[in-house]
Amino acid sequence: MPLIYLYASRLLLRAPNSLVDGMAVDVGLWLLIALSLPFLFAILAPILGRLGPRVPGWVGLGAGVASFLILLVLWGAEGEVRVDLPWIPSAGIAFALRLNPLSLLFGLIATGMGALIFGYSASYMARERVAGPFYLYMGLFMGAMLGLILAGDLILLFLFWELTTLSSFLLIGLEKGEKRSTDAALKALLLTGLGGIALLLAFLALASVVGSFDLELVLGAGDQVVASGLYVPILLLFVVAVLAKSAQFPFHIWLPDAMVAPTPVSAYLHSAAMVKAGIFLLALFLPVLVSDLWILVLLPLGIGTMILGGLQAIRATDLKRILAYSTISQLGLLASSFALATVLGQGAGLLHTLNHAVMKGALFLVAGAVIYATGMNDIRELGGLRRAMPLTAIACGLAALSLAGVPPLGGFLSKEAFFEATWESGLLWAPILGVIGGGLTFAYAWNFFSRLFLGPRRGGVVVEPKALAIPALILGALALTLGIFPGLVTGLISGALSPGEVFAPSLLQWNVPAAIMSLLSAFLGLLLIWRYADTRALLQRIARGLRRVTPNRAYGAFVGGVQGAGQRMALATQNGSLRRYSLVLFIAVGAALLLPLIPLQGAPLLIDTVVTLPGPASLRTVALAIVLVAMIVFAVLAAVLRTTLHAVLSLSGMGFLLAMAFMLLNAPDLAMTQVLVELVLLVIFLIVIYKLPLRAIKPSPRRRASDLLLALGILIGITAVVNPSLATFDSSVAEFYLGPDLVNETGGTNVVNVIITDFRGFDTLGEISVIALAALALYTLFRRRRRG
């Protein structure tokens, strides 16, 4: 993010620059500020934590509201806004942000919900010791989500996408000690990470077809992409990414386990924001990727997930897991509404995204409040809390009814629109399954509310945490207002659809088939509620029957298999014997050298041109020959001599001769470095020999033979690699460095040193950091050894 501040500071200084092209300077800046506020909060969070337990929460609320308002005001004043800053011009990747109806809608959800949830966690997280990192990662997530929504460049979008995956991993695994949370975090990371890789591949293929990473160009090139040969792989990879991120079947298994995270995380990431990223992608790329294959693939998966999620929600007993499965089911509904690819479908999808964020967020906050107050989270042990927690009861009632799709709440409108869209799609099975899904949702939604708040009093003594109830109440009220005055939002949604389309459902006009479908689903829901306990028992029996074939087992088997293989491989190579370590090392070196030989069909092993030497040519060459032969003798001695000390001596002898060879080849710098390194090396060898009683073991003939073979393999490998490079020795590299302007450009005449410190300075920095790191590593190793 430093990049943003750098450019932002330049913008602030009103420096005339063509970066923010063709637009009043301050508008682009506002968009940047909106994006960087959450990141700024994330950085400050740990410090704010010290001022007081609730301070970070309120500041987070402020940051969220500020971004929310900036986006709103910016949209009101400027309409479409685009910022285009060069990021990696050589690869055609730009740091482009853009504001349009779609990104505004999702942006408002992300920042609005984020702000509310920060307010909620101000008190919820007050007693938690993990509050510091919690706020840091939440701020990071909000910024990443906002970035993902505003991104105007494929690679930038991917970057923020992966950042959301990372922050979700960190948030789920917040309780480091507990195995449950680390396993859940790993599962979430692996699956959403898989989605990330699929997305990257899809984007790269897409960019190769369209020829640019810029989102505007990509969105405009719909028919070109569909016609291209790469369309099918792009679509499939894209779908995998959406399924993984939005927890659709078969990648949905990480979401229920992610409920181990604190409730604000579940409310924000795993219901209102992150899981919506997949839906946002569907909405964004619909115009590019839509085709009958799109419908064929997404619709069954979407509706299937909806049904599956609904069934699981009824089966689950843990408060948060019910809501998690409900989210999976609702995401299935959203995915299938976009899968329908009709204007009504998109409209229903967008409206339901908003409604779902509001009502599911409220339900999670309610669940959090109940768990916070009673400490219990099994729905069967709780009940009749309406007198103890009146405000939470009202919020839960509003949200649950909205989820069930009961008029006049918002949920009803978007569900009605969805039913109408399925009816219009002409596919017979879509409306039927839609109704079943609606019925299931009605059942578990009503059961969640009635079980918790109506009926006889069950569960521990309760004091209602007011600070937790208010945000839930706000969301509940919002669900109601969205139902009565949809006009607030439908204007924006129509804007997001293709131009000219209008999507304005309202309580007043009724679409007959959709109304009938709603009634049917309500009826089915009531039926299920009537026999709720038996259905749950039945579902539990079915689940036990199928437990051998669920995706969870597949995931468990895969991870277990990989870990097992890893352990076996580690044991084979790290079994403590020094001999084994060096053997593995040399085998790897040998393979690395010999493998490239195969395609080269054995590069010219021996070359004829002897490298010509400066100075009195013939005599100097003879001297060099003698030195090289002597080095070979020393090397053989090092291998043959029994006691280690003698071997070390021959090694150091070889080192000095190497220095002599460097000198004969006119490289004084190298000779000096070689000599000095040789001296220090000898001292280290002597120390090691003294510390490590290396008794000269007599290896068995078989082992000596295998070692010899290995050595010969490496010998051939090295000659194969070195010779071609010697044969094709061209001096273009030298000419570049020895070019005329060497002195005045770098102020030095010693080309070796100039290269090291100036031209290739960056590599040198790498080298010395490696050296420093090696020293630190050895330091810790030796220090730990002394402490046993």
């Binding site: 000095l676 120390i687 102020g747 010693n750 100036d758 960056f762 040198t764 050296i771 420093a772 630190l776």
Partner: protein
């Protein structure tokens, strides 16, 4: 106990050696030398000191934490890497100041030498940490 003769000679040779290594370091840009060579040289000078005088003697004389020297070297190298940015030049381009010193006349300072000093300290710190720690034993080191 290494013989007295060795101790006497080492003290004289040692200081000249370090001086020579520093001269090589600074002259590195025009004649052979530079961070790596000078670093290795000072490291071997100190190793000699350790071998001839033993750990206690050296530890009492030089209270140096070699790890921090290595880190300092890296910091200096990074500083000189980023310095040109302040002048609007691309990363790591060397800046040349020519200043008139009273005694030595015109002296040309090149920022790359600063980078060299960074390399020098990093290499010295690293090698001596390795040598020092592998020999084990308690103490500062």
């Amino acid at each position: 106990m290494v013989s007295v003769v060795a101790r006497v000679v080492t003290t004289t040779v040692l200081y000249v050696g370090i001086l020579f290594s520093i001269s090589l370091l600074l002259a590195g840009h025009n004649s052979p030398g530079g961070g790596f060579i000078a670093g290795a040289m000072t490291a071997s000078a100190f190793t000699l000191l350790y071998v001839v005088f033993g750990r206690e003697y050296v530890e009492t004389r030089f209270r140096i934490r070699f790890r921090s020297i290595s880190a300092l070297g890296l910091a200096i190298a990074v500083f000189f890497l980023l310095l040109p940015l302040a002048f609007g030049l691309p990363l790591l381009s060397s800046l040349i100041w020519t200043i008139q010193l009273p005694l030595l006349g015109e002296v040309k300072l090149v920022s790359a030498v600063g980078f060299d000093v960074g390399i020098y300290l990093a290499v010295v710190g690293a090698i001596l940490t390795i040598v020092r720690r592998s020999a084990g034993g308690e103490s500062l080191g």
